[in-house]
């Protein structure tokens, strides 16, 4: 009854992603390396070396052919999943904080950091899927700077040419990347930094987590807040469990703001909340530091959580007989 402990990173995990089939798990970390794992046994399939700084973000396309990564070395890279080759590298003036593929795999959106006099910029690249993929256009198809608070997370929505963004001030907004205009916004969605954004399978709603200790489900068309999940700890990540009525939240007090060494102070547990009833149904312990990122298997029967140097993968079965309680069965 143990979770699979995926040991391979030497520093904190920054983001993890399942591929569409759920057989692979991509993880990136502050140790400059991207790893890919088999989800059924936790074996490491390989690493992607090349970045020279913290890898902040990864995303994989629906065919598991390409994936993109963004790093603090100011590079956005396109990789071949199977061979581990870096196919193309884009260079920017500042670090890349977030990348995401579009539904049709033909576009990639990326956010670059606001630093050294450069504004926070959102760029959309067209990805050529012909040949081995090493021939990409250097220039972005669309580029714009969101006004006001800088964007921290973004993703494509179900509507054409609209992306959903989360901002440092706690605002969430919809941008038309073709024109660069803000279509809609909700300034008070959160009261602190939006830390994560994950879409529902059909991208009609999404969940955001924030340092204001809450996570919210938004309608991606109207930006209405549909559900709110309030916890007692700053949240770093939130995920929607497909095919199951749950959302998973993770976070914890940062080590430097924890007043004691007591583990209990940090509350480093993965929390399961009922998506519709807004009630907490269970918790899974295991981490000894804040949880940075959570991802749920596309089938919804397992999940992975990444913290400081440790990545766990849990196989979960939500037991229907014990109703409000949640049994977590780990291999």
């Amino acid at each position: 009854m143990r979770p699979i402990l995926l040991q391979g990173h030497e520093r904190s995990l920054t983001q993890i992603k399942y591929n569409r089939d759920g057989d692979l798990l991509f993880s990136c970390s502050k140790d400059h390396v991207i790893n890919v794992w088999y989800t059924h046994n936790g074996e490491r399939l390989g690493t992607y070396d090349g970045h020279n700084g913290t890898v902040w973000t990864v995303d994989v396309d629906s065919e598991s052919r390409f994936f993109v990564s963004g790093s603090a070395d100011n590079q956005l890279r396109l990789w071949n999943v199977a061979t581990g080759k870096c196919l193309y590298t884009w260079e920017f003036p500042t670090a890349v904080k977030r990348v995401a593929f579009s539904e049709d795999d033909k576009q990639v959106v990326c956010i670059t950091e606001q630093r050294m006099g450069y504004q926070c910029t959102i760029r959309v690249f067209n990805i050529s899927r012909n040949g081995d993929g090493s021939k990409q256009s250097k220039e972005p198809a669309h580029i714009f700077n969101p006004i006001g608070s800088k964007a921290t997370v973004c993703a494509f929505t179900s509507q054409p040419s609209i992306i959903f963004t989360g901002h440092e001030s706690g605002k969430v907004a919809l941008f038309n990347f073709k024109t660069g205009e803000e279509v809609d916004s909700n300034e008070r969605a959160h009261s602190d930094v939006v830390t994560d954004l994950q879409m529902s399978p059909d991208k009609t709603y999404c969940i955001t987590s924030s340092k204001d200790k809450s996570a919210r489900i938004h309608d991606t068309k109207t930006l209405d807040v549909i559900k709110t999940f309030t916890t007692e700890t700053p949240l770093n990540s939130a995920a929607i469990a497909p095919n199951k009525p749950y959302v998973l939240l993770g976070g914890g007090q940062e080590a430097m703001s924890v007043t004691t060494t007591s583990l209990r102070q940090g509350k480093f547990e993965t929390r399961f909340w009922h998506k519709v009833f807004e009630e907490e149904v269970g918790r899974v312990k295991g981490h000894f530091g804040p949880i940075n990122t959570i991802a749920v298997h596309p089938k919804g029967n397992s999940y992975a959580s990444g913290g400081r140097m440790v990545l766990y993968e849990y196989i979960i079965s939500m037991n229907r007989t014990s109703k409000r309680s949640l049994t977590v069965i780990c291999r």
């Binding site: 143990r2 539904e103 054409p160 399978p201 009525p245 998506k275 049994t327």
Partner: protein, 735 residues
């Protein structure tokens, strides 16, 4: 003035009256620095100078110097003699007041006595309206019932929570019945305290103590003791004792009256008050032993009340016990109990039976045939010279020595009465001959038996906590032989053993029931109704365990069937284990149904808050709150039901409980249906919203993924759950 204005009127039409009014100088036309002195010898002019010098001398001797120039002597022109009185001017009203106090009724010589009056008074009384005006009778408003909270139909208890600057009073009962009872807006106080029967709640302010009570929580009484720090109520809630580390100062011009300190009280710091009238009864000083080289920490309560509120006693260590009668607060019999070397004493508590008798005597009055049982004091004296240490039982007010026991090699004694006064345990810390190690004896006096037989339980270890079971024949001790005892340090948790003892009815002595070895528990908390006990580790930064024990686990079977011969100590059963991180206080509610644990910000700042558990150790409520300070259950007075009534209830318990069970059933159904309805509504809303957004999605996009997605989404229907919790599983995942 008017002339001036008229003159300028022609030149300029300016009205100066407002400026004049503003800068008008108020003349002091009062004569408050003038006194009239009556009773002066009648003289003729020749003797005037001599008389005046004499008077001045007399006044100066009393500390109020006057000059002959300030004295005006009126003369009777017809006789040429003085009129027997004179006027005296002082520098200011203050001097006049001092003179009035010092010289009024001063015997000048054998025939003459000075009578001093204020000059103003003469005028005042002369102008007094002599017609009698009937005082208006205030309309009678009945006072609120101070024990109204006991009439709660659900029989709930109350507790007070002090957090940050806010106080809140809550009801505690079944989950659906827990609610806020009152949120007072009391400001700027140190802490709150209930009176022992829960009638009042006291707040300690800079200016003094305030009592609140009744259903509307109105102010009930106040005691002006500035900078008060500690408060103690008498057991029957008739009196209250307050203490401040600052000695009492009575500034001039302070309000006077029976509710206030008078100049006689200056320098004292302990005050006794009557709660009903608010009057100050007496003040004491706690700094008696200033010349003593060892400054011991002050004992609190400094005054110990007899259980019937008739006497209050304080000990002067090494010398005597002074017992004061109430309400006069005079020394009983005009003398203290002189006991050389006395260190500490305790009053014997009244048992329920005694209390009934006391009440009967009080109601029947002096005619009652039976006399109320006498009070009892237990005290101990250490070894002095060749005298052994000694524990003495003394009756009071009879002052007869009932029993004495000599003890040897004693370094410290502690007196523990069982709460019914059936047993007295003297915990004797003894040292070995070399005085290097300390071990412990428990000397147990069986007070209800003839000649007070004493039995000794000898222990090898040091006993750090002792506690009688309320109304029971059992006690629990925490003992330790940990070498770290006595040198506390961070991270050091002392290993302890907890033992239970019970009176063996057959042999009539106390026998060990069970020892729980290798604990860290340092506090024993018996349920106020006995039987259940909680062992807690408080004040430790690493351990915070709570153990819930039942000492009569098999008793139920025994009552039904015939007496089962069972093993000694077999009925002890652990009910549960719990943990409250950083716990500082553990307290049972007065009914013995719930236990409250709290972590106060006064001790540390980690996870402050409180939790309420049932007697089995199931957590019912947990509140983590920043700056949480205090949690106190509201005490209850003794039951008003007679013994027979209680027996009747116990006999028909099944019938009563059926009513409650039905109520519970109804309520839980109610809750269930409400919850279910809410959930159904939520699910319907969610599904409706999903359907809408899916439709929109279908309209907006016609590309090939749509079909595939549709099939995926079909699975995403949310089920409605009807059942309640079956079980909750928490699994530790090790690293």
């Amino acid at each position: 003035m008017s002339g001036v204005t008229q003159n300028v009127e022609n030149v300029d039409d300016i009205d100066y009256s407002d400026i004049e009014a503003k800068y008008k100088v108020e003349y002091d036309d009062s004569f408050d620095n003038t006194l009239i002195v009556d009773g002066v010898p009648i003289i003729d002019k020749s003797k005037l100078e001599r008389l005046l010098t004499k008077i001045c001398k007399e006044f100066s001797r009393k500390g109020v110097p006057v000059k002959p120039d300030d004295i005006f002597m009126p003369w009777d022109e017809s006789t040429g003699k003085s009129k027997g009185y004179l006027f005296m001017d002082f520098r200011n009203a203050n001097d006049a007041n001092t003179a009035l106090i010092a010289m009024d009724n001063h015997p000048f010589d054998a025939k003459h006595t000075f009578k001093l009056n204020r000059f103003d008074d003469g005028e005042k009384y002369a102008n007094m309206d002599e017609t009698y005006v009937e005082p208006e009778i205030e309309e009678y408003t009945p006072r609120e019932h101070l024990r109204a909270w006991l009439t709660d139909p659900q029989g709930r208890d109350q507790y007070v929570v002090y957090r940050g600057d806010d106080v809140e009073i809550f009801w505690h009962g079944k989950p659906s019945q827990c609610e806020l009872a009152y949120k007072p807006d009391w400001k700027d106080f140190l802490y709150v305290s209930w009176s022992p029967q829960g009638t009042y709640i006291a707040t300690l302010h800079r200016q003094g103590v305030r009592l609140w009570g009744g259903p509307s929580w109105k102010p009930q009484q106040r005691f002006a003791h500035p900078l008060v720090k500690l408060i103690d109520f008498s057991p029957c809630e008739n009196y209250v004792v307050t203490w401040s580390n600052e000695p009492i100062v009575v500034p001039e011009g302070k309000p006077q009256g029976p509710q206030y300190f008078s100049p006689d009280d200056e320098g004292n710091n302990l005050a006794v008050w009557d709660i009903k009238s608010g009057h100050l009864l007496r003040t004491f000083s706690t700094n008696t032993g200033t010349e003593g080289a060892v400054k011991r920490q002050m004992q609190w309560p400094a005054l110990k009340w007899s259980p019937d509120d008739k006497f209050v006693a304080r000990v002067t260590p090494g010398q005597m016990i002074s017992v004061h009668e109430l309400p006069s607060m005079f020394l009983h019999d005009k003398k203290s109990l002189k006991i050389e070397g006395v260190v500490d004493f305790e009053w014997c508590p009244l048992s329920d039976k005694d209390r009934d008798e006391v009440e009967k005597v009080a109601s029947v009055g002096a005619k009652g045939a039976k006399k109320a049982p006498e009070n009892m004091i237990a005290y101990w004296t250490p070894e002095v010279a060749n005298q052994p240490a000694r524990v003495t039982l003394l009756s009071f007010p009879g002052r007869a020595i009932l029993r004495q026991k000599n003890l040897f090699n004693v370094s410290e004694c502690k007196l523990h009465w069982q709460n019914q006064g059936d047993f007295l345990c003297v915990k004797v810390d003894r040292h070995t001959k070399t005085k290097k190690s300390i071990f412990c004896n428990l000397e147990i006096f069986r007070v209800r038996e003839k000649d007070f037989p004493v039995e000794v339980v000898e222990l090898k270890d040091t006993v750090t906590d002792f506690s009688w079971e309320p109304k029971g024949e059992r006690f629990a001790i925490v003992s330790t032989n940990d070498p770290n005892l006595g040198n506390p340090g961070p991270g050091i948790t002392i290993k302890t053993d907890v033992s239970f003892y019970q009176l063996d009815r057959v042999k009539n002595d106390f026998k060990l029931l069970k020892t729980l070895p290798n604990r860290t528990s340092n506090a024993i908390r018996w349920s106020p109704r006995g039987r259940f006990v909680v062992l807690a580790t408080v004040g430790s930064s690493t351990k915070s365990e709570l153990e819930f024990w039942d000492l009569d686990f098999t008793l139920e079977d025994r009552r039904d069937g015939q007496v089962v011969k069972e093993d000694w100590g077999s009925s002890i059963q652990s009910l549960g284990l719990a943990d409250h991180y950083g716990v500082t206080d553990v307290e049972w509610d007065p009914s013995g149904r719930y236990l409250a644990t709290s972590a106060s910000a006064w001790t540390h700042t980690l996870e402050n808050g409180y939790a309420i558990w049932d007697f089995r150790g199931q957590e019912l409520l947990k509140q983590i709150q920043d700056r949480f300070k205090q949690f106190l259950w509201r005490p209850r007075p003794r039951t008003l039901l007679s013994k027979d009534q209680q027996k009747q209830i116990r006999k028909n318990l099944k019938e009563f409980s059926r009513v409650f069970e039905e109520e519970d059933q109804r309520e839980s159904e109610n809750v269930n249906t409400e919850l279910l309805a809410l959930r159904r509504r939520l699910v319907d809303e969610w599904n409706a919203w999903r359907a809408r957004s899916k439709k929109e999605l279908g309209e907006g996009q016609g590309h090939d993924h749509a079909k595939e997605k549709q099939s995926e989404e079909d699975k995403e229907e949310i089920e409605v759950w009807v059942e309640e919790v079956v079980e909750q599983i928490e699994e530790e995942v090790e690293d």
